[in-house]
């Protein structure tokens, strides 16, 4: 009786897994079919003659490789710059007693409540007046003003015992040296979380790059894929090939950092 119940549970779980993964499988299967096999009433599940033609077409007839490269540059620069900007101020908030620290901290944290959508019109006018519209810099810079990384890092730095710092000061190390040699290495775990989340958020960004960039060669991959449907309306096999190509970098990133990503979300509850 108990065995049978367990078996039913296992079967239900396997079914759930299959249902959940199916859309992804379907994306790959569609991308391997010829279009006339996709747009037909004679429905077949698997491709009769699997083909990579859609992938070749995607690379040849669109800027998909450029879009991937743009997204990669944007995400990597955002990741590095976020760390360079956030770590020092997080350290100052956690360990340096300077006047106005608390007010400043709450002012910065209040920035977490500002939905980005409110800023799109003024930011666009701002970047337009700097002549930066249509550049990768425009896609990167506004993300750097988001304070969530500081919140995570400060919480971690606060847990580092003061004695470690004091020992370094007694040995004659200055503030910068202490920060670079002691705080940064000890805070590696939190820093990894921050930069991984920065990477993912920059990679998945859609609304702002859609506004800030309007030349198809400079699109990010998310904007490029969204516009695919406009330009290749009914070529579903080609569109799915594009979607697969667009997802590969993220999938690799996920496979490497699976645990870190999940733990990072559990810790901070940051939603895209």
């Amino acid at each position: 009786m108990r065995n049978r119940k367990t078996a039913i549970y296992r079967i239900l779980e396997v079914l759930l897994i299959l249902i959940w993964v199916f859309p992804l499988v379907w994306m790959v299967i569609t991308s391997l079919k010829f279009e006339n096999e996709v747009v037909t009433r004679n429905f077949t599940f698997l491709p009769e003659n699997p083909t990579f033609q859609n992938y070749i077409d995607a690379f040849q007839s669109t800027y998909i490789l450029r879009w991937l490269l743009n997204s990669l540059i944007i995400s990597l620069v955002t990741m590095a710059a976020t760390f360079i900007l956030d770590a020092p101020i997080a350290y100052a908030f956690a360990k340096i007693k300077f006047p106005g620290r608390n007010i400043l901290f709450w002012a910065v944290m209040a920035g977490m409540m500002v939905p980005f959508q409110v800023l799109i019109v003024p930011l666009y006018l701002q970047f337009n007046s700097y002549g930066l519209v249509n550049t990768l810099a425009a896609a990167i810079i506004p993300r750097l003003a988001m304070p969530i990384g500081i919140f995570i890092l400060r919480q971690f730095y606060e847990g580092i015992p003061d004695a470690l710092e004091e020992a370094a000061f007694i040995d004659g190390a200055g503030r910068l040296r202490t920060f670079v040699r002691i705080i940064l290495p000890l805070g590696k775990a939190a820093a990894t979380t921050v930069i991984i989340l920065a990477f993912i958020n920059a990679w998945n960004d859609f609304l702002w790059p859609l506004i800030a960039i309007n030349e198809s060669q400079k699109y990010t991959i998310t904007v490029g894929i969204a516009n695919f449907q406009g330009t290749h309306g009914t070529q579903y096999s080609l569109i799915m090939a594009g979607a697969v190509i667009a997802s590969i970098p993220e999938l690799i990133f996920f496979l490497i950092f699976r645990r870190k990503i999940i733990d990072g979300i559990a810790m901070t509850g940051i939603k895209g």
Partner: protein, 289 residues
């Protein structure tokens, strides 16, 4: 603490790089946007001061109200379902099942795909003539459903794609919440003869309440900000029946170049989201007391 205490200098020096970016690209645009919302403001041409006219116009703009209503519809269609799904997934992932690791990865994996990929994929799955759902319905002798092309179904179809995409996110938060409940509570419940179902109702659900509130607030905010799914899957159609507020803000600002009016609408959205955020602090604050 430090010889020749330079805390003030150091504090400022370490904070300055971020603060410059923060003031330039967060504080300034926030204030500038508010300022713009009182003007007739195009990219070209001189801005003209209108006072409260943009806001007055808003209240009489049927498109604004319908977009706001569609956004609220989306919030109502997605939030409860996503909370329940996330919770049930978390129960599976924290169970004793040998498949729990695979389940966790499978449930979470859609979330790492970018929203435009997810929306494109579901637009294809739900395509009226050749999409797989209608193909299979056809094989069963049933008529296909107008998933994205009927105003009755379109918002639900967008919601279904969203369930698949982000339920895994809520699962992660619920999993963390459930893992914090001490094992001993469950053990003593078993000794008292409680079934698994009773344990879930009387132990897990009440004790995971702080996580539920956190998820609820995050989900409401995320759903209020819906845009990309709609943009890719229906473009706001059919006949404007899925046009959401951010899409209307986007179109007003960047298709019709009515920046002032667009900014005024963003501020209304801002006030709504702020109200939700404040509720978060009220509820979570009470928990900490």
């Amino acid at each position: 603490m430090i010889p020749g205490n330079k805390d003030t200098r150091d504090g400022i020096l370490f904070s300055l790089p971020f603060l410059i970016v923060f003031v330039l690209f967060m504080v300034y645009p926030l204030l500038f946007g508010f300022y713009i919302s009182f003007f007739q403001w195009n990219i070209l041409g001189t801005p003209k001061f209108l006072g409260l006219q943009n806001y007055a116009e808003l209240f009489q703009d049927a498109k604004f109200w319908s977009s706001l209503w569609h956004t609220v519809q989306f919030v109502l269609m997605t939030t409860p379902v996503l909370l329940v799904m996330g919770f049930l997934m978390a129960l599976l992932v924290t169970s004793k099942s040998p498949l729990k690791g695979i389940l966790e990865t499978c449930f979470f994996v859609p979330y790492i795909f970018s929203m435009t990929v997810v929306a494109t994929l579901w637009a294809w799955i739900m395509q009226k003539d050749f999409g797989i759902i209608n193909q299979v319905l056809g094989l069963l002798g049933k008529e296909g459903v107008s998933w994205l092309t009927s105003d009755k179904n379109a918002m639900w179809s967008i919601s279904i794609a969203t369930y698949w995409w982000t339920a895994g996110f809520n699962m992660v938060l619920f999993t963390a919440g459930i893992k914090q409940i001490s094992k001993e509570i469950y053990e003593s419940a078993i000794v008292d003869g409680a079934s698994t179902f009773q344990s879930i109702i009387h132990i897990t659900i009440p004790l995971v309440k702080p996580t539920t509130i956190l998820c609820l607030i995050l989900q409401i905010i995320a759903s209020f900000n819906v845009f990309g799914q709609v943009y890719v899957m229906t473009g706001g159609g059919p006949a404007g029946s899925t046009r959401v507020l951010i899409q209307y803000i986007y179109e007003t600002g960047f298709s019709y170049f009515r920046m002032g009016y667009s900014a005024a609408m963003s501020y209304i959205l801002f006030v709504i989201i702020m109200a939700v955020s404040v509720m978060q602090y009220v509820f979570l604050g009470r928990r900490n007391d």
